[in-house]
């Protein structure tokens, strides 16, 4: 058992580090072949992000419109009378679809003689500050009149002060489908009623929550779950395509999540021709950056500066060596002194009268 344990300790590999180069696979391979390192270097492939899910089609609105034209208002309402349709469109920053959905709901409810319910939807559309869609021109004048009337009423009402904070650092807040309204924490004034607050940040899954603005002031704290690797890959690709350097802090963090790598080393071309640049991130946080001519020297440099390992110090530069030498010298001196001091004496006694 002990032998197995000793063997496993002696043959144990060091920590595993993923090496990535999104510019040159050969560069990553050469980096991973750096000899005599107490770590395992594995070449990683930069993620190819899957296309984002297609936004919901406007087919539902088309069907509802057809039902309204055929005076089949129950069918129309069945298709549109779900608030989630509006919220989902707003979460996707699709204000046009949200506006069209609400406008057709107003039209169908007026056709079904549900005046109060139609008015409530009209108030929500106004509170969200959604523009009146072109579809209104195809509806009855009664619908347009209602929508204009409630908009004026909503505009005349006092606004509610809203404070938004987030558990996510530097979270970007979008209100009612208007992207990048502010960076949390922030304050704004909103019309009374139901709103949709969306929070997004690199490394996190965008999250939308409903907010009811009521009274004089409303506070809300929004959180977001960490991004999964595929989302992180999309976010990383977005950053790279927007020109962020491959060794940027955010980029490294996203790439670590996308590759599921706690220790990530990226290499790529340097600022000047013939040089190479790289960075080392541990748990998504950049620990070291360096620039060298040779990729394997660059890797060593990053691992040392990132404190992944320490280069071995010559024996004579280690203090225990000199302590041992000193102790040996003292021991030798003491032993010699003891031996010399305690040398046996043989005294011959002779008569010499």
């Amino acid at each position: 058992m002990l032998t197995l344990l000793v063997c496993s300790i002696l043959t144990a590999d060091g920590p595993s580090i993923t090496v990535v180069s999104d510019a040159d696979d050969g560069l990553a391979k050469r980096a991973a072949e750096t000899p005599e390192l107490p770590v395992v270097l594995t070449v990683g492939t930069p993620p190819r992000a899957e296309p984002e899910a297609a936004q919901p089609s406007t087919e539902t609105i088309g069907l509802a419109r057809k039902a309204w034209v055929g005076a089949d208002f129950p069918a129309c309402l069945k298709l549109l009378d779900d608030d989630e349709l509006v919220k989902r469109a707003l979460a996707l920053n699709d204000r046009s679809t949200a506006a069209r959905t609400l406008a057709w709901r107003v039209a169908c409810k007026l056709g079904a003689r549900q005046t109060d319910a139609a008015r409530r939807d009209g108030v929500w559309l106004a509170a969200l500050q959604l523009p009146l869609p072109d579809d209104v021109g195809a509806m009855t004048p009664e619908v347009e009149t209602l929508l204009n009337t409630v908009r004026r009423e909503v505009d005349a009402e006092p606004r509610v002060k809203v404070s938004i904070s987030s558990t996510v650092k530097d979270a970007v807040i979008a209100i009612d489908g208007r992207p990048a309204t502010c960076i949390a924490p922030c304050r704004m004034e909103l019309a009374r009623g139901l709103h949709v607050v969306q929070v997004s940040a690199d490394g996190y899954t965008p999250t939308a929550v409903p907010l009811t603005a009521a009274g004089d002031e409303t506070n809300v704290t929004v959180s977001a779950p960490p991004a999964d690797p595929s989302l992180a890959a999309r976010q990383w690709q977005l950053r790279r395509s927007s020109g962020e350097p491959f060794d940027g802090g955010r980029s490294m963090q996203l790439l670590s999540i996308a590759l599921r790598s706690a220790r990530l080393l990226v290499v790529g071309p340097g600022e000047t021709t013939g040089t190479l640049r790289g960075a080392l991130a541990i748990d998504g946080v950049v620990q070291a950056r360096a620039e060298r001519d040779d990729v394997q020297a660059l890797v060593r440099d990053l691992l040392v500066r990132g404190k992944v390992y320490e280069p071995s110090v010559p024996l004579w530069k280690r203090w225990p060596f000199w302590v041992a030498i000193g102790a040996a010298a003292v021991a030798t001196g003491v032993t010699t002194a003891v031996l010399v001091a305690n040398r046996p004496i043989t005294t011959r006694v002779a008569l010499n009268p």
């Binding site: 040398r343 004496i345 043989t346 006694v349 002779a350 008569l351 010499n352 009268p353």
Partner: protein, 217 residues
């Protein structure tokens, strides 16, 4: 490297200091007073005269050397030594006794003391360079030289002996002893002498030659 260090240590360990210490009665025989004693119970005869046989001849005797363990370091004066040995065990070491045959001079009753001293010293020189002991004890001892008419064969212990043969007090011819000394450390010759204020010192010779250095009445 390891072997060299070991060799040096072994050499150091094996290196024994060889010394030699001489026993002397003084350049003029000052320490020989114990061999010039007279016996008040025998018409004040010199003890040396015990060697005379009836035919006018002289019997040969022996000079016996003992190393007496003291169990401490008492003073050097006779009184101090006797007092010390009355409460401590003062015993000659069994394996350290040595003996050399010697013929001491017989004398006329009126011989001047200095002539007698010179004659005894001359006789003692018969035993010059006698190897008293090859390895002195590693402790404080007194060295004692006893003159006797007994033979060395009588006085040297056998291999199985547990005690030293005692001297025949009637055959003693003289005695001398040293101060307590650690022979491995002494840097001078060791002087053997005998303290007496009078020539009638046969009692002192008996005390000096006693097996336990006890006072002899």
């Amino acid at each position: 490297m390891k072997r060299t260090v070991l060799s040096v240590l072994m050499l150091l360990g094996a290196c024994t200091v060889q010394r030699e210490v001489s026993l002397t009665f003084g350049s003029e025989g000052e320490g020989l007073d114990g061999f010039m004693c007279r016996d008040p119970n025998a018409n004040n005869q010199f003890l040396l005269d015990r060697a005379k046989d009836g035919d006018g001849g002289v019997k040969s005797g022996a000079l016996v050397f003992d190393f007496v363990r003291l169990g401490g370091v008492p003073g050097c004066r006779t009184g101090q030594l006797v007092k010390w040995c009355s409460t401590h065990e003062c015993k000659p070491l069994l394996q350290t006794r040595s003996c050399v045959p010697i013929t001491l001079p017989t004398v006329t009753p009126m011989i001047p003391r200095e002539d007698l001293r010179a004659a005894i010293l001359t006789a003692m020189k018969q035993a010059a360079s006698f190897g008293v002991l090859n390895d002195a004890p590693d402790e404080f001892v007194i060295v004692r030289a006893v003159g006797t008419l007994q033979s060395c064969d009588e006085l040297l212990p056998s291999a199985a002996a547990v005690e030293l043969p005692a001297f025949d007090k009637k055959l003693l011819t003289g005695c001398a002893y040293s101060c307590p000394v650690l022979l491995d450390r002494v840097d001078q010759d060791v002087y053997l002498g005998f303290e007496t204020l009078t020539g009638l010192c046969e009692q002192g010779v008996r005390t000096c030659s006693d097996g336990q250095l006890q006072w002899q009445p």
